[in-house]
């Protein structure tokens, strides 16, 4: 009886000490992770490590081969092609944000580049002065007033806030490539697009690698700044220091 009492007393004591430690750790955490933009930093940093490994051994080497092997006019054609494929969805989002003249430009671009620009391989519309816009459903939700939610880092797709993760899910539904019937063609298009995007980021790699004291934080803060800029269409109100 006494023994068991003692044991339970000891257990209680231990549990209490453990609780105290956890509480301390909790306080430590809130002090260490003062960043209000990044409430899930622990999770994000582990996902970032996974992402870096995938990139190092798969995505980046493939993109480098592509970048070195393919001549510039072909790469430009591929980039233009996927830009054109996404044009309709850009237009839908312009319209959803109430920017109807932009939506008209987007539609015009799609028509001109799909015809005169030979299936979008040439960006004739830009030459004619029809500027390309940058819209997606995450931005649309932001314009509608949705808050960004916490910052998340996902392997492969990278930085997304909670809102932009949802937006990305909707963007996929608005992606014409998903509606291609032939599975091999659909998958090849998706693969080529990933390689094209990754290859276009190669020059930025070195800069980030060299510039960052903490690569994870550098990429996070760059993403948050860039999104803010996109939501305000390149003219964000100035933040006071």
């Amino acid at each position: 009886m006494t023994k068991s009492l003692g044991l339970s007393g000891m257990r209680k004591g231990r549990a209490w000490a453990l609780g105290g430690l956890l509480a301390l750790a909790g306080i430590g955490n809130t002090i260490a992770e003062e960043n209000p933009h990044d409430p899930y930093e622990g999770f994000n940093r582990s996902m970032f490590a996974v992402h870096e490994a995938i990139d190092k051994y798969a995505a980046k080497p493939v993109a480098q081969v592509y970048d070195n092997a393919v001549p510039l006019p072909v790469k430009a054609g591929v980039g233009n092609f996927f830009g054109n494929v996404g044009e309709l969805w850009v237009g839908v989002n312009s319209a959803l944000q109430g920017k109807f003249s932009d939506a008209g430009v987007d539609l015009g671009r799609l028509l001109i580049n799909s015809t005169v620009g030979i299936f979008g391989l040439f960006d004739v519309a830009s030459e004619l002065g029809l500027e390309r816009h940058d819209e997606d459903f995450g931005q649309t939700m932001a314009v509608w007033g949705a808050g960004s939610g916490g910052y998340l880092f996902w392997p492969v797709i990278g930085s997304r806030t909670v809102r932009d993760t949802l937006g990305w899910g909707v963007d996929i539904m608005g992606d014409p490539v998903g509606y291609v019937d032939s599975i091999p063609v659909r998958n090849s298009l998706r693969g080529l697009r990933i390689v094209d995007i990754r290859a276009s980021l190669l020059p930025a790699d070195k800069v980030v690698e060299e510039a960052a004291l903490d690569k994870y934080a550098y990429i996070r803060d760059a993403y948050l700044q860039r999104r803010r800029n996109q939501i305000f269409d390149g003219r964000p109100p100035r933040l006071d220091d």
Binding site: L72, E210, L213, G234
Partner: protein, 179 residues
Amino acid sequence: MLVQRVTEEVLEIIRNDREIQNGSTNKVIDLVDKKVLPHFNFQHMTALAMGKEWRKASPQQQQQLTAEFKTLLVRTYSNALTSYKNQKVVYKAFKMAPTETDVLVRTEVHQPGNKPVQLDYSLERLEGGWKVYDVVVAGISLVTNYRDQFGQEVRNGGIDGLIASIANKNKSLEANQKK
């Protein structure tokens, strides 16, 4: 306008210099040193990157911070210039009242197959003429993007800890380059 004159002058040199195109970092740093740096206010840039931590630093620490941060920025972004190939810079229309002392100059870098990249410069009028104090690429300020990282270093090791970690970064970049 200053930004346009300097940009075109520098790009012209890069276009005609094989060594730079082949990635000669030292040569491009030389070029940036001579042509670009006189138009930058690094003290202001460092203060902007530090945010509220700047005032916690003594004048001597501020000087050290500015020197190290300058080295880091110059090295990393000069390297970015060596990959300049087929880009074209477009200058946005720009109006300014003669009394203004702080302006934003907007440019766009066009490259085949990619969306144009927005490249903006913040300039302030000082006694020695207009100086750049912020460079913003695609909405990302190359200066304030350091603020959280700097804050983190200051929390961990104080202002001197931050100076040491930027200095270490610079040393390791220099060592890598010599290889």
